[in-house]
């Protein structure tokens, strides 16, 4: 039932993210007529969609009310949720899990649509490559998504979205302007090193992102467990 509740709470965000995805696809449709255009999309526009999806779909931790309201002494329905015989690990896990599944679904749909709508891409990329690319995006997104989950336990909902975008932007800037280990370069993993361009899976980057995501998730859990209502 917690999955159903999480779905009810996030469905409008999912719709908004799908709408944003459609906007990006419309914009890309004209740009993807030449191979450099496809490369440009893979390098820049797709990571933006990933960051956007992760920011929007991470949910708001345990609380269904913004954290800012909690600090003002109102808890919304959070007290009812916390009176249920459910651990905070399960509450946070379900909430984070449904958002991650929605995010993975959005990225999967995007990859399918990207492939079908771009004749140029269909000429140079096989469906298997496209599937590997979708897996790469979902894997590399793990760290960004879990950053958003962590921020959800600390910040008001709208600040969480901005916080994730700014945090991701800073990470991108640092990874492009400062010598950075390749395995830790998440945005490169989604771009130049992705199966669409490098034709190999960036497993080391995916593993790094997943590892970082786990650390961020358990940090969020520790905060959620310590939080008083």
């Amino acid at each position: 039932m917690l999955w159903h509740k999480a779905w009810l709470e996030t469905r409008f965000r999912l719709l908004f993210t799908l709408f944003f995805m459609c906007l990006i696809l419309t914009f890309q449709h004209g740009a993807a007529t030449t191979p450099p255009g496809v490369h440009g999309i893979v390098r820049f526009s797709n990571p933006i969609l990933v960051v956007m999806a992760c920011s929007m779909l991470a949910g708001a931790g345990i609380a269904t009310q913004p954290t800012l309201a909690v600090s003002k002494g109102t808890h919304g329905s959070t007290l009812f949720t916390l009176s249920l015989p459910v651990s905070r690990l399960r509450l946070l896990g379900v909430r984070a899990g449904i958002g991650w599944l929605e995010g993975a679904g959005v990225l999967g749909m995007y990859c399918c649509a990207f492939w079908f709508l771009s004749p140029t891409l269909r000429g140079i990329v096989t469906p298997a490559d496209m599937f590997r690319y979708a897996v790469t995006l979902a894997g590399c997104a793990s760290a960004i998504y879990c950053l958003s989950v962590l921020l959800a336990t600390l910040l008001d909902d709208q600040w969480r979205v901005w916080g994730t975008m700014i945090g991701s932007g800073v990470y991108w800037w640092v990874s492009t302007h400062i010598p950075f280990p390749a395995f830790a370069n998440i945005f490169r993993g989604m771009g130049e090193d992705s199966p669409l361009i490098a034709h190999t899976m960036p497993w080391n980057v995916i593993a790094f992102s997943a590892g970082l995501g786990i650390i961020l998730f358990f940090t969020a859990l520790k905060i959620a467990k310590a939080r008083e209502y």
């Binding site: 039932m1 509740k5 009176s83 459910v86």
Partner: protein
């Protein structure tokens, strides 16, 4: 198995530098209907939240069903046996009444379908209506339904009749007594409505400034507490020291009103020994006991 469903000893909780509980001792007997009274900010909700594991105490101990509430894993098991009504009566705004019942039911293996049907009918709750479209009274009734239908061994109710009209309050109070009598459920509830507490509670605890100032069986309390009215024929000459048991002494002209918490016979003897005095005894209401303690504090 302990005789108390809820037991706290020297429980302390502070928010920043502001103490909310200052060594609270609370003992709720199994099967009792326990009225938890106090002024706004006395520490009632803080106590309830601590018992539910929503707040952590700074010191002291708190146990429910003999299990410490600070243990997060065991706290889940405790909550499985508790029905809880929150003070603010906030529920998921995106669900209907029916969806909320369907959502809550699977968490509680002892869910009582018969009680669910009974209270749906009694409270006249519209199944298809969304939560934001319910009045505060209806939300209170829905929360009560969700708490009672859990088949809980303990109901913790924070201002359960808040927002209800007098007829609904009557219904709810009657049902609480029925539940306690028929299934042996312990009911621990906070309220500002002294009259309704007096109507159904068999045990009382009065908290003030984070401390328990009076606690015990209501019958026992009413037997022990007495108001003595001493009327003097001429001038009033009160003793400098009263015998033990005098909680307060108020004088208006030749009439002196004494509230005795115990030892009333000895106090009467002392009053009668004063020159020109006539003493009468009066029973004391819960309101008088409450006001006496929270004012003197």
């Amino acid at each position: 198995m302990t005789d108390f469903v809820i037991e706290t000893n020297q429980l302390c909780k502070s928010f920043a530098s502001r103490p909310a509980l200052r060594g609270l001792d609370l003992h709720v007997p199994v099967g009792s209907i326990y009225g938890f009274l106090g002024r706004n900010g006395a520490g009632k909700t803080t106590t309830i939240k601590t018992l539910m594991g929503l707040l952590r105490s700074n010191s002291g101990t708190a146990q429910v069903f003999g299990t410490p509430v600070v243990d997060a894993d065991r706290s889940v098991e405790i909550r499985r046996r508790i029905g809880f009504v929150t003070e603010d009566k906030e529920l998921y705004p995106y669900m209907t009444v029916e969806q909320l019942i369907r959502f809550t039911r699977p968490f509680f293996p002892k869910w009582r379908d018969d009680l669910e049907r009974r209270y749906l009918q009694l409270f006249e709750l519209p199944l298809q209506r969304k939560i934001p479209d319910l009045s505060k009274g209806m939300r209170s009734k829905l929360m009560l339904l969700l708490a009672i239908s859990r088949g809980a061994e303990l109901l913790i109710l924070d201002e359960p009749t808040d927002g209800l009209d007098p007829a609904a309050i009557e219904d709810v109070l009657r049902e609480l007594v029925t539940i306690a009598a028929s299934s042996g459920t312990t009911i621990f509830f906070s309220s500002h409505q002294l009259a309704e507490v007096e109507l159904i509670a068999d045990h009382i605890g009065i908290i003030d400034q984070g401390r328990m100032v009076v606690a015990g069986s209501l019958d026992d309390m009413k037997t022990r507490y007495q108001r003595l009215q001493v009327v003097f024929a001429n001038s009033v000459q009160l003793p400098s020291h009263w015998v033990e048991g005098v909680e307060s002494v108020r004088q208006e002209g030749r009439v002196v009103s004494i509230l005795a918490s115990h030892n009333a016979d000895a106090i009467v003897d002392q009053a009668q020994s004063l020159p020109g005095s006539e003493v009468e005894r009066f029973p004391v209401t819960l309101k008088e006991i409450f006001l006496e303690h929270v004012r003197s504090n």
